[in-house]
């Protein structure tokens, strides 16, 4: 997380008419991280992404990409970034190879370099014998692979993906995630827009939760979840225990355990860090408790989202 600053967003505002789509956003994204912008549809994620990719001009505030201003030095920025938009942004009449040839021209690659990279990209997208078929008949996953290959052809330092797995089947989703993880291993900075919480949870090093144009929370998925109080272990006993206070003290002494409450037939432990379930069970039995059940619950990113925005991500997405 100590990488150089890749993207610096300062007091960013974008207004459409009188309604602000982005309302004073400050954010620093570092080189080499997979960063997620998380929020419901209409939260301002796509607008933010379009400003970062030079497609929209900010109303006020500044954005710089590796020190280049997205408005004043748009061409320098465009050379440094790859962009995979939300829609199935392919030309259904062109083949995969023709897509790559088009983008080789748009990024001014010399012919010999273009030839090598296109060969390499076609191998990576793994279309087997369909290299020369128009992409219109491809599955969603195949189209997405072509799109990502086009976005990487000029070897950008940052790749932007807007809803990369929207509408994809489970298998294709997994393939896109794998591809993104491999890019991270190669040192690429990746910025993802998503309203899938599991995607953000699995894939992103850090997340910004955005709602109504404002930053609501920022941190790694673990940090955000821990911020809500960490994991909870609930121990249910078959019958009430003799010395509840003693049990409470014993449980609290376990390394990693935070707040503990014991009442009647239940002990509830909030974990500050990971703590061994075995040790917890041992302590309960040593205090004479007869175990009936043990529940272990993680706070989900969904709960984090509700906590910071006051509503669920999905319902908003459907509206």
């Amino acid at each position: 997380m100590a990488g150089a600053v890749a993207i610096e967003i300062t007091k960013l505002v974008k207004q459409f008419g009188s309604t602000p789509a982005v309302d004073g956003l400050d954010l620093v994204i570092r080189e080499g991280e997979v960063f997620g912008l998380l929020g419901p549809n209409g939260a301002g994620k796509t607008t933010t992404l379009k400003i970062l990719t030079t497609l929209l001009r900010p109303t006020s505030g500044t954005v710089s990409i590796f020190g280049h201003d997205v408005v004043g030095e748009a061409d320098a920025v465009r050379q440094l970034i790859g962009y995979v938009p939300q829609e199935r942004a392919v030309d259904r009449l062109l083949t995969a190879r023709e897509h790559l040839e088009l983008f080789a021209g748009l990024y001014h690659l010399p012919p010999d370099v273009a030839a090598t990279r296109i060969q390499e990209a076609l191998r990576l997208v793994d279309l087997a014998d369909r290299v020369n078929a128009p992409v219109g008949k491809f599955s969603g996953g195949m189209k997405k692979r072509v799109e990502i290959a086009c976005g990487l052809l000029h070897q950008p330092r940052i790749l932007f993906l807007d809803e990369p797995t929207l509408g994809l089947d489970v298998q294709s989703r997994g393939q896109v995630w794998d591809r993104i993880r491999r890019l991270k291993q190669q040192g690429m900075t990746v910025v993802i827009n998503s309203n899938y919480l599991d995607e953000a949870d699995h894939l992103c090093d850090r997340l910004a939760i955005i709602d109504r144009g404002k930053l609501r929370a920022l941190g790694s998925p673990q940090e955000l979840k821990r911020g809500l109080g960490g994991d909870i272990v609930t121990v249910t006993l078959a019958k009430p225990i003799g010395q509840p206070l003693e049990l409470r003290r014993a449980l609290q002494a376990i390394d990693g355990v935070g707040e503990v409450s014991v009442d009647g037939t239940a002990a509830r432990l909030a974990l500050a860090r990971e703590a061994g379930l075995n040790t917890i069970v041992e302590q309960v039995q040593r205090a004479g408790g007869e175990l009936q059940a043990v529940h272990y619950t993680h706070p989900t990113l969904e709960e984090v989202f509700v906590h910071y925005t006051g509503h669920k991500i999905r319902e908003e997405a459907i509206q």
């Binding site: 379009k50 030079t54 320098a76 465009r78 970034i81 938009p85 009449l93 021209g105 748009l106």
Partner: protein, 256 residues
């Protein structure tokens, strides 16, 4: 400059590749003008009196009209592909690359101009098979191509402007469909303007299609009339400058 031609070339190649994939559109685009000549020409030739059109060969008279109608159709269709690019988000991909914004527009012009020139040659070739030989010969064909392409530039510019002004492709097609036929009928495409009612004549004289048709017709039927030809070329250049200025204002607002 090299960079500019590399990106413009890549974009232009894309339009040609798209056209080659849409075989049906391509075939109809080339055959429709031939049908115009064959069907309309055959059915109208006994209706149109030689005094009204100034020649006894209606197919020769109509060839100029078909040339310009074809340029009109191709020019007005010039913006369509960009509407689809806008709707699919592909345009954003193009705009996120380090290209001059104008290269997208220039590539459309190059494509439409090449397509129109090809169509004009097919029409003149068909006319030749129907024994219509241009009075000005091979250099006359060159002049017809020049005049046709000049009209096409202005129409393509209008279409591109419209593509960014209108929000959906169905709206675009409705509008273009609505204005195309009337534009043909208020021109000298099918009849000579001398025989139109006065109010129609006034509109027809202001219609850039009429200027182009008359120039092309004169090259086919009569021979070289330099004064008229130069006048039409200048008028078309003025028309083009007007259209390009209007559209570039819209485009600059749309693609920054």
């Amino acid at each position: 400059m090299n960079r500019y031609w590399q990106e413009t070339g890549a974009l232009t190649l894309r339009w040609f590749r798209r056209m080659m994939r849409e075989r049906m559109t391509l075939i109809f685009g080339l055959f429709q003008p031939m049908l115009w000549l064959l069907l309309f020409g055959s059915s109208f030739k006994n209706v149109a009196s030689p005094q009204a059109i100034g020649t006894d060969n209606y197919i020769a008279f109509m060839t100029a009209g078909v040339v310009v109608m074809t340029v009109l159709n191709s020019g007005f269709a010039g913006g369509v592909d960009l509407i689809f690019d806008r709707e699919t988000g592909f345009l954003d991909r193009l705009l996120a690359s380090p290209i001059a914004r104008s290269s997208i527009i220039v590539s459309r012009f190059l494509f439409v101009m090449a397509l129109s020139a090809l169509q004009i040659l097919v029409i003149l070739g068909t006319a030749l098979l129907l024994h219509v030989v241009p009075a000005t010969g091979l250099s006359g064909v060159g002049a017809i191509l020049l005049v046709g392409v000049l009209l096409g530039v202005g129409l393509t510019a209008l279409s591109l402007g419209l593509a960014f002004k209108i929000s959906s492709h169905s709206g675009f097609f409705s509008l273009v469909g609505f204005i195309t036929l009337p534009l043909i009928f208020v021109s000298s495409a099918l009849v000579s303007i001398e025989h139109m009612p006065v109010w129609l004549k006034v509109i027809a004289v202001l219609n850039p299609m009429t200027w182009t048709i008359n120039a092309v017709r004169s090259l086919i039927l009569d021979g070289w009339f330099w004064a008229q030809l130069v006048k039409v070329i200048v008028a078309l250049i003025v028309f083009d400058v007007g259209c390009v200025t209007l559209s570039s204002r819209i485009l600059r607002r749309a693609v920054g």
